[in-house]
Amino acid sequence: MIARQTRSEVTRRKIIDAAVELFNDVGYSNAGLGDIIERAGMTKGALYHHFNSKEALAVAIINEGSDILLKTFQGISRSSAPALESMIHGVFVAVNLGNTDKLVRMGAVLLRIFAKFSEASTVNYGVWLAEMGEQARRAQAEGDLRDDIDAQAAGEFIVSTVLGAELISNAVSGGEDLMERVTRTWEFLLPAVASEQSLPYLQEFLARESLRRRGQSMPT
């Protein structure tokens, strides 16, 4: 029984991996279930056992990609670092993951395609709004976030601007300038949300983060 479940899980993995590759090569709308079956090297029955439609497959990719992202971000925000540092750092790590992990990237692409048509997007974006809101409240308690703003609103605003930066970056440069755009987003956000005494430190934290991401040595 245990062995069979494992085999089933392996099959499911294979289908998802094949679908991610195919969607990546030809685009979601041009990919047929037949192509996925061929690429994964399995039977129609095996695929339908796991996914009854292409949309079901897309939702699975969205959920898994989003899950990886969220877990990575939470790993950082549950660390011993101050919350606002974790928010900055976590956004960069998540964005970088979206650039390097095929499943995460495809999940983000599909999430955008399905944005208005699927429950998956409502759920996934909702989770991020809650997570960022919580971190923002922590940052406020720690004195890094200004105490005269609504922490939940600040957290949600950060999610929107980062998503917007991702959207624009994909549109104008195929995602190549995303790190720069995210850096600039934070450069504008920080003076608006950070408390006066923490701002200079956080600006330096941001500068170090962004340069480290670009693989250059940090500013002196």
Binding site: G75, I76, S79, S80, A81, P82, E85, H89, V93, E142, Y201, E204, F205, R208, R212, S217, M218, T220
Partner: protein, 224 residues
């Protein structure tokens, strides 16, 4: 059909190690009485000997468990992917928080010193730690936080020695004060190897870590 008995025996192992950690965290090795350990778990001495034939076997198990705890915690800090020097600073606070707050961690470190001479266990463990920290310090050199020309291994050894020293001179039952000692050590040591232009940022980073760690540790704890 011996399975139920075995399972019962298995279930006593964890509690025995925990009870032993509590003792070893508060008393020198030689003064720990196994009767106290057995009493805390509520099993017979014979049942304990089934798992741990000697005090040393029990102490070794505590060291092993503490080692596991340390590994997991360190992996968590490394997964944060901060810069090298920031990672070293975070690690020092992590160890301090565990050492002041978790019997297992504290007992493991004490025992490493008291029974670690056997088979070179202490030298080997510290050697591993120094190697691991030296790798992180090397990254900090590449990132420009540690001044060029500084030997990463020297820095790693200095950090480990400093921590062990603070552990001996400071009071683990007064976490807030212990964390201040850690902060002061960084403030004094960093100018010796950090890039001068980064000092302002790094000092703030250290102070912010003290504040975070202080919020996590319990206030002063009396002797058990």
């Amino acid at each position: 059909m011996t399975e139920p008995a075995d399972r019962r025996a298995d279930s006593a192992r964890g509690p025995l190690v925990r009870a032993a950690a509590e003792q070893f965290a508060r008393k020198p090795y030689s003064l720990v009485n196994l009767d106290d350990v057995v009493a805390a778990v509520d099993i017979s001495r014979g049942a304990m000997y089934f798992h741990f034939p000697s005090k040393q076997a029990l102490a070794t198990a505590v060291i092993d468990e503490a080692h596991k705890l340390g590994h997991e915690a360190v992996a968590g800090v490394l997964a944060n992917k901060l810069s090298g020097l920031e990672t070293l600073i975070d690690l020092s606070y992590l160890v301090a928080v565990l050492d002041t707050g978790e019997d297992l961690a504290r007992a493991g470190l004490y025992l490493l010193e008291s029974i670690g001479r056997v088979e070179g266990l202490e030298a080997r463990s510290l050697g591993e730690v120094i190697d691991a920290l030296a790798q992180i310090a090397r990254r900090a050199v590449d990132e420009g936080d540690i001044a060029e020309g500084r030997d990463p291994e020297d820095i790693a050894r200095l950090l480990v020695s400093t921590y062990i020293g603070i552990r001996h001179t400071g009071d683990l039952d007064n976490p807030q004060q212990f964390l201040m000692h850690i902060e002061k050590a960084w403030t004094l040591l960093m100018p010796g190897f950090a890039n001068p232009e980064r000092m302002r940022y790094l000092s703030q980073f250290v102070r912010r870590r003290t504040a975070m760690a202080s919020g996590k540790v319990l206030p002063q704890r009396g002797p058990a």
